[in-house]
Amino acid sequence: MWKIACAGLFFLGLLFGSCKNEDFKIGVYLPESHAKVGMIDTVTIKVSNMIAVDSVVTSNKAIGFSGIYTDPQIGTVQTQTYVEFSRTTDSENDRYAKFDSVTLVLRPNGNYYGDTVKYASFKVSKLINKIEKREDGYLYSTSRVPVGDQLTDTMLRIKVRQQKNFEITLPESFGEWLFQGILRNADAFTTDNYLKTFPGISISPGAGSNCMHGLAITDSTCMIRIYYHVSTTYKEDKIMTFKVNSANSFYHLDNDRAKFPAYNAKSDPVPSSQTDNKGIVMSGTPLYTRLEFPHLNELLSLGHIVKIQQATLYVRPVDHSYDTVPLPPQLHIYYFDPTSNTPLSSAIRPPGGDTNTGVQTGNLPENYQNILRPDFPQYTFDITDFISTQLGKVGYSKWALSLIIPDDSRETTLQRLVFGDQKYWYRNDSQSMDNRIKVEVVYVVYND
């Protein structure tokens, strides 16, 4: 029987074991925590504005820009688009066909810059030379092609949100020249010689322009149309179309950054103190912002052991800076390696562990431009890992962060973010939103 009793003891253990709720709530007032949790939002952030690269690739992007705009935050931005047209594939055998008119068909792609309520002015000119790519096979925002005769300078009101094709009438002499050359298959318009004779056009801002439009440079949205007719027993209207060759089309961008002369030294960071206490992130040029945390180690004085529970970076656009220029819907954040001066050394991944990929994009609320109930416009980044690893670092081991518009948007859109640095509020005495950049650090501190 004693064996049975022994087995009974073990059976009791197996049967009941020990069982308790992991999340025991009764008695939660009893422990005295050794570790205190606090939040600090006064970590110093040093903001510097920098030019990421001299230029961006703008060829074969199926987009163009045309316009000029004096940005009160930066200076004058001017763009022009160079377009090459393929020889038409429309054939006309009637040598007595009569030319009627010629137009340039364009379509806004929805990107705009400046006050688009005003009339836009497009100056269209013939190119002198064929568009030639650089050795690397690309054309850049700094590339240019010599421009010849001006064909037209037209004022139009563009409905940017509708994104419908519109037509600019070109001179009849140009149209007749082009039409007759093709119709008669003149030597200058043979397949081999066509691009030498007609290399393309440039679309640039005309006189009085004070806005900029993005253009969709595709087969169906950018073309030259020649309207003509043939007369047999009746009059038949016809169209000859020259479609764009988007692979050889590109846009050029100039930004004088006259507002901030310090930008002239392109490789040097411009402290936000020299840019009206503003950080500027912009596509096209492009500009990016470097964020340094020079006094981060002061957090270590909070206790014997200090650890970062959470760190959140808030970047807030300056009031009204995005009224006429859209904010980038996504803003990327990267580690900035000071030793190699690499702004994009590695992405700060979304929180959630190593399995998460990609770059944080800032989660800008979609409704920030809603008139009735706008969301507070701000970009939010989880920089917990960055702050945690930077705590205690000195010298060259201290890294910074960079804010930049994502690659694809940087080359194909005109977007701009102007945010306040930590002194912005006081300098401008704003009575509206607090537009200052801020990092909130939730820390755990242990003191003996």
């Binding site: 003891l9 009791l12 009941f16 008695g27 939660v28 606090g38 650890k307 970062i308």
Partner: protein, 433 residues
């Protein structure tokens, strides 16, 4: 007949004597194996009380052996098969020629309540292990391992972020485990007929671990306790006539300084921030004394026992290191009744059993926010005899621990314990026809 069957197991020829030797050897082997493994077996928590976050935890006031069903009385009680853990002098009651091995286990079902919340837990653990033997006419000795205190809590606390209301509270998990054990050697010496003195030499040891876990920081404090301690007892037993026996006993333990080694390890999610020994904690084992009595009455074949105890521990000498907590003197009151229907070998098994009732009231050494905690319980038990002298003691305690504060934490529990009391006959001279 049940006892006849048992009798057949008794040694009556050389073959059985060999069997006996083997059984005795297996007893000792079992004891030493369990002695070796018991601390590990006790690694499971014996309690879930959140109050075990304080001090050295929940002091074990129960005897999980022979008298559990009697409210764990024992200071003034002795018996021929009782390994008395409360009063070493009580060992004198053990019969000559007997060797006793006790092993106990218990499961505790608890329900913790406040005015707004309710949580249930259950904890199983092995409790006691002891052997005892009368070594000479006057000297009885016992060696054992039993729990002195238990720690076992797990709390999830939402810690607010100081300086802001914009952030959700940070979850902090507190957990504690371990406890203090007592390895003891108790000796009783019968000075003259009915009067015995006893001394228990104890090695008090154990580890108590407190965890505090945040997402980014884990703090582990480990307290290591090692202490040699002695306490004393006396017991006087007297027969009034043939049927009535009265025993009175007393115990005493002196206040003794105790130095607890403390090691702290702090780890973050990236590194070990600290792993070093901290200054020892200076504390005390409290002075204690207690007194008790028992009355035994034989009526025909039946035996009645009533016993009662009082015990006092002077914890207040130890200053508290926790806010809102004070160590206060504890008092324990116990009383129990036992009936054995037939001490002879009755035909019916049930009449050979022992039946127990008891009650216990315990004022804890913890005073939280000005309220001294207390505990009261009632108990019932039964002992099932087997193999002529051995017993399986089964007892159930139903009780409540309270903080005394209105709306404070109350623990209602049912404690089910099983004790295996193996009794062998040693030193018997065999006679052969």
């Amino acid at each position: 007949m049940w006892y006849t069957m048992i009798e057949q197991e008794m040694p009556s020829n050389p073959a059985n004597r060999k069997s006996m030797t083997l059984k005795t050897g297996s007893f000792l082997l079992t004891f030493f194996m369990m002695l070796f493994f018991l601390p590990d077996m006790q690694a499971q928590n014996s309690t879930s009380s959140p109050f075990t976050i304080f001090g050295i935890g929940e002091i074990e006031t129960r005897d999980f052996g022979r008298t559990t069903g009697m409210g764990s009385v024992g200071i003034g009680f002795q018996s021929d098969n009782f390994l008395n853990r409360l009063n070493p002098a009580g060992l004198s009651g053990i019969d000559t020629l007997r060797f006793i091995l006790d092993v106990s286990a218990a499961v505790k079902f608890s329900e913790f309540r406040t005015s707004a919340q309710k949580e249930r837990t259950n904890d199983f653990n092995f409790r006691d292990l002891a052997v005892g033997v009368r070594l000479s006419k006057r000297w009885t000795s016992s060696v054992g391992l039993s729990p002195y205190s238990n720690v076992g809590y797990r709390l999830s606390v939402q810690q607010t972020v100081q300086g802001t209301t914009n952030y959700s509270p940070v979850n902090t998990s507190f957990s504690g485990s371990g406890g203090v054990n007592k390895f003891y050697w108790a000796n009783a010496y019968e000075v003259f007929r009915g009067f015995s003195l006893g001394v228990t030499s104890s090695y008090i040891f154990g580890n108590i671990t407190h965890h505090e876990d945040l997402d980014v920081l884990t703090i582990v404090d480990t307290y290591n306790i090692n202490k040699i301690y002695f306490d004393f007892g006396m017991l006087y037993s007297h027969w009034f006539g043939q049927y009535t026996n009265i025993s009175v006993g007393g115990v005493y333990g002196y206040e003794s300084k105790m130095s607890i080694q403390r090691t702290q390890m702090i780890t973050s999610n990236t590194a070990v921030e600290r792993n070093q020994r901290q200054p020892d904690l200076k504390t005390y084992l409290p002075e204690f004394y207690g007194a008790g009595f028992s009355i035994l009455r034989n009526k025909k074949a039946a035996e009645w026992v009533f016993a009662a105890d009082y015990q006092y521990r002077k914890w207040s000498a130890d200053p508290s290191r926790h806010k809102g907590l004070a160590y206060t003197d504890s008092r324990i009151y116990r009383a129990g009744l036992q009936l054995t229907p037939d001490k002879r070998r009755p035909e019916k098994y049930i009449r050979a059993m022992r039946f127990q009732l008891g009650a216990c009231y315990n004022q804890s050494y913890l005073t939280v926010n000005g309220y001294q905690m207390d505990d009261y319980s009632i108990s019932a038990g039964a002992a099932f005899p087997f193999r002529n002298m051995s017993y399986v003691n089964v007892a159930v305690n139903v009780g409540e621990s309270r903080t005394g504060q209105r709306g404070g934490i109350t623990e209602r529990y049912v404690l089910l314990s099983v004790n295996l009391s193996l009794i062998e006959r040693w030193f018997a001279k065999q006679q052969w026809d």
